[in-house]
C-alpha cells in the first residue's frame, strides 16, 4: 500500500514538471482534491472521441476555426527580408486566441457537473471569452479583473456584463492581472463544489499549464498544415508574444520537435528592460514558487513578488508559464523584450501596412518581426501569431499618443 502511494506521488510530480524542476503543484490543500478531479477528468477526456468531437464542433461552428494563415504581402515587401505569414487568431469569435482554451475548459467543467465558471482577466479578452462560453452553455459566470485594468479596458468590462457575467474589480495589491489571479484562486478555494476556475494562461498548478497548451495547440496544428499547403515547407521562425504564455505555447507546440524551426517569445519590456518598469520575466526574473507553480518570476531577493509594468494589460504579469521557463533554460526557444514605444509603433505600422488593427499584446510580436525580418533572406519564412484584435486598445493608444478621443 505504501509503495503504491509513493508511485502515485511520483507520477503526479513528473507529469506536471518541465525541464529540470519547473511546474508542479503549489497550492493550498483546500484546492487539491478539486485539482485532482480536474486532472483526472482532463487526462481521460483529452483522448475521448466524444469529447474531442464536441470540442471540434464548437471550434469550427462557433469559434470560426480554422483561423487564416495570412500572407502579409505589404509588410514582407516593406521590410525586404523574410516572407511574413500572420496566424490570424484575431479573427476568432470574441477576437482572440483565448476562446480556444475557454471552449475546452468549459466543456471539461460541464463534464465535471459544474454550473458556474470563474476566471481572471488582464486585458479582458479571456474574461470576454469565458463570459461568451458561459452564455452559450447556460452557465453562470464571474470574472475577476484588477481595478486598474477595468479602467484601462472599460469596453471589455461592458462586453462581459453584456454577456451576462458579473465583473469583480479587484482592489488588492497592484490591482492588475496578478491580483486578479489571487482573487480568482481565493474564490475557487471558497467555492469549488459548483465552480470551475477557467485559468486563461499557461500558468498555475498542474494540470493547468498542460491543459492550456493542449487546447491552444490548435494554433500551430493549423499553421503547420496551412503553411505546408501554401509553401510546402516548415517556417524558419515562429514568433508570438508572451505574458503568461498561452498563445505562444500554442503557437510553438507542434514545432517543438522540429529543431530547425526557431521559436521566439516576445515579452513586454515596458519602459525598457533596465528601467524597473518592465514585465520581461524571462530576461529579468528569477526562479521562484508562486501562483501554484515553480517558474520564473519578477521578485526581490527576499522572494516578494515585484509589481511589473507594461502598456499592455494582457502581458502585465510577473511570472511566465513553466514550460516557457524550461524552453528558455534548454535554449529551445529564445525570448526577447519589446518596449511600449516599439509596440505602439507596431500597432500603427500593421494598421497602415496591412489594414489590421491588432491587439497591443500581439503588436509586441509584430515589432520583433519588423526588427528580425530584414535580417533574414527572402526565401525564409516567419509565422507570427496575431493573438488578438486591437479594437479594445484604440482608445488607450490614442491617449498614449496624446490624442483625445471621446469614447
Amino acid at each position: 500500500m505504501k509503495t503504491l502511494l509513493n508511485e502515485e506521488q511520483i507520477d503526479t510530480q513528473q507529469a506536471g514538471r518541465y525541464g529540470n524542476d519547473f511546474g508542479g503543484q503549489y497550492i493550498p490543500e483546500i484546492l487539491m482534491s478539486e485539482l485532482e478531479k480536474v486532472n483526472q477528468s482532463f487526462q481521460t477526456l483529452k483522448d475521448d472521441p466524444t469529447f474531442k468531437m464536441e470540442l471540434q464542433d464548437l471550434l469550427i461552428n462557433y469559434a470560426n476555426r480554422p483561423s487564416l494563415l495570412y500572407y502579409a504581402k505589404n509588410m514582407t515587401a516593406d521590410l525586404g527580408g523574410a516572407k511574413i505569414y500572420l496566424k490570424r487568431e484575431d479573427l476568432n469569435h470574441t477576437g482572440a486566441h483565448k476562446i480556444n482554451n475557454v471552449i475546452g475548459q468549459a466543456l471539461l467543467a460541464k463534464h465535471l457537473g459544474k454550473q458556474r465558471l470563474i476566471a481572471e482577466t488582464g486585458a479582458g479578452q479571456h474574461g470576454v471569452a469565458t463570459a461568451t462560453i458561459a452564455a452559450l452553455l447556460g452557465m453562470s459566470c464571474e470574472i475577476f479583473m484588477g481595478k486598474e485594468d477595468t479602467e484601462r479596458q472599460k469596453l471589455n468590462v461592458y462586453r462581459m456584463e453584456l454577456l451576462g457575467a458579473k465583473v469583480h474589480a479587484v482592489t488588492s495589491g497592484s490591482k492588475v492581472l496578478k491580483d486578479a489571479v489571487n482573487a480568482a484562486l481565493q474564490e475557487w478555494a471558497s467555492r469549488s463544489d459548483d465552480t470551475f476556475y477557467v485559468l486563461g494562461s499557461a500558468v498555475g498548478p498542474a494540470p493547468f499549464p498542460e491543459m492550456v497548451k493542449y487546447f491552444q495547440s490548435v494554433i500551430s496544428q493549423e499553421s503547420k498544415q496551412q503553411l505546408q499547403n501554401e509553401e510546402n515547407q516548415l517556417p524558419d521562425m515562429v514568433v508570438a508574444c508572451v505574458g503568461g504564455g498561452s498563445n505562444a505555447i500554442g503557437s510553438f507546440a507542434n514545432y517543438l520537435d522540429d529543431t530547425n524551426v526557431k521559436l521566439v517569445g516576445v515579452e513586454a519590456a515596458g519602459k525598457g528592460i533596465d528601467t524597473g518598469q518592465t514585465a520581461a520575466t524571462i530576461e529579468r526574473g528569477s526562479v521562484g514558487v508562486f501562483h501554484g507553480m515553480k517558474s520564473l518570476f519578477m521578485q526581490n531577493s527576499d522572494g516578494q513578488i515585484d509589481p511589473v509594468y507594461s502598456i499592455s494589460a494582457g502581458l502585465d504579469y510577473p511570472g511566465v508559464g513553466p514550460e516557457h521557463a524550461a524552453l528558455a533554460e534548454a535554449k529551445r526557444a529564445e525570448y526577447v523584450g519589446i518596449t511600449d514605444d516599439e509596440a505602439v509603433q507596431a500597432f500603427e505600422y500593421i494598421a497602415k501596412q496591412e489594414g489590421i488593427v491588432a491587439a497591443i499584446e500581439s503588436c509586441h510580436a509584430i515589432a520583433y518581426v519588423e526588427k528580425v525580418a530584414p535580417t533574414m533572406s527572402k526565401d525564409q519564412i516567419i509565422v507570427c501569431t496575431l493573438s488578438g484584435r486591437g479594437d479594445k486598445d484604440v482608445a488607450s493608444i490614442a491617449k498614449y499618443k496624446g490624442v483625445n478621443v471621446d469614447e
Binding site: 502511494l5 503543484q25 493550498p28 490543500e29 483546500i30 488588492s172 469549488s192 522572494g303 516578494q304
Partner: protein, 264 residues
C-alpha cells in the same frame, strides 16, 4: 524528542497568530512575550508575503503594515531572536514557500533550528510537493506542519500518516478571516485523522470568540486563532501587547474549560 507534539500531551493547546513586524519590530516582540506569558502554548508568527493567496483581508492588511515598517526575511529571525531573550515558548512560522525557497531551504531551516523555531506552516505546499522542503526540515528537526481541510477527503490518510509536529485542521473552506459558522463535519474530520495518526490536531481559520474556542477545543487537541488577534494589533497598534494579553487569558480559560468538559 519532538517539542511541538509534546505541547499537546497533557492539555488542550492554544496557538495564537500574529504577523511579524506588524505594526513594527518592538511591538511584535512584545506581542510574542505577552502571548507566551498569558497562556499561549505555541506562537505562530506570520511571515509577510506580497501575495498571500490563502489569507483574507485582515491578514493582507497586516502584511502591508509589516512591509510599511520595512520587514525583510532577516527581520523575522531578528524578531524571534529578540523574543528568545524573554521566552522559550515554542514558535512556528507561517510562510508561503517562496520565502524559504529564495532564502535557501538549508540556510532558512538552519536559522530556524538555531532560534528554536519548531515548525513551519506553509499554506501553498500540498502533500504532493512536500519533498521540496521536508527532507531538509527533517535534517534540522523542524516540523513541516501539514494542513487538512474539509475538502481533503481521500487525501486525509496519506497526509496524516506522514505528519509530524501537529496537523493544522482548516475549519471551513475559503480563506482566513473571522467567521461565525464552521464546517459541520469537523468532529468527524478530526476522528478520521485520528484513525491514521497520533500526531495532535489544531483547528484554525475564522475562530474569534472564547465560546468558539471552547467548542473547537472539545473536538481537537488545540485551537489556532489568527485574524481576531491581528485585528487587535490593527486597532491597538503599539498598545497591542496589553490588549493581546487580556484576550489570550480569556481564550486560555475557555480552552481549559473544554478540557474540564472532556474530563467529566
Amino acid at each position: 524528542m519532538n517539542k511541538l507534539s509534546d505541547v499537546f500531551k497533557d492539555h488542550k493547546a492554544f496557538v495564537p497568530f500574529v504577523v511579524a513586524n506588524d505594526p513594527d519590530f518592538d511591538t511584535t516582540v512584545q506581542n510574542i512575550i505577552a502571548l507566551a506569558k498569558n497562556g499561549a502554548d505555541i506562537v505562530e508568527l506570520g511571515v509577510p508575503f506580497s501575495d498571500p493567496v490563502a489569507d483574507g483581508p485582515v491578514i493582507q492588511a497586516a502584511d502591508l503594515r509589516a512591509f510599511k515598517a520595512n520587514v525583510q526575511t532577516r527581520t523575522i529571525f531578528e524578531i524571534v531572536s529578540a523574543a528568545r531573550q524573554e521566552t522559550d515558548v515554542p514558535i512556528v512560522l507561517l510562510t508561503y514557500l517562496n520565502i524559504p525557497f529564495k532564502y535557501g531551504y538549508d540556510a532558512f531551516l538552519k536559522k530556524c533550528a538555531d532560534l528554536d523555531i519548531g515548525g513551519l506552516v506553509i499554506p501553498d505546499l500540498p502533500y504532493e510537493s512536500r519533498d521540496e522542503i521536508v527532507p531538509t526540515a527533517t535534517k534540522y528537526d523542524v516540523d513541516i506542519v501539514p494542513l487538512i481541510s474539509p475538502t481533503s477527503g481521500g487525501r486525509i490518510e496519506k497526509i496524516a500518516r506522514d505528519a509530524t509536529g501537529f496537523i493544522y485542521v482548516v475549519s471551513s473552506v475559503g480563506i482566513t478571516g473571522e467567521r461565525d459558522d464552521f464546517y459541520h463535519g469537523l468532529a468527524e474530520l478530526v476522528k478520521t485523522i485520528r484513525q491514521y495518526t497520533h500526531v495532535p490536531t489544531a483547528i484554525g481559520f475564522g475562530v474569534h470568540t472564547p465560546e468558539q474556542a471552547q467548542k473547537l477545543a472539545e473536538i481537537a487537541d488545540g485551537v489556532i486563532i489568527g485574524s481576531a488577534i491581528v485585528n487587535i494589533v490593527a486597532t491597538e497598534k503599539q498598545d497591542a501587547p496589553a490588549a493581546i494579553a487580556s484576550f489570550t487569558k480569556g481564550i486560555r480559560q475557555s480552552i481549559d474549560a473544554a478540557q474540564q468538559v472532556i474530563l467529566k
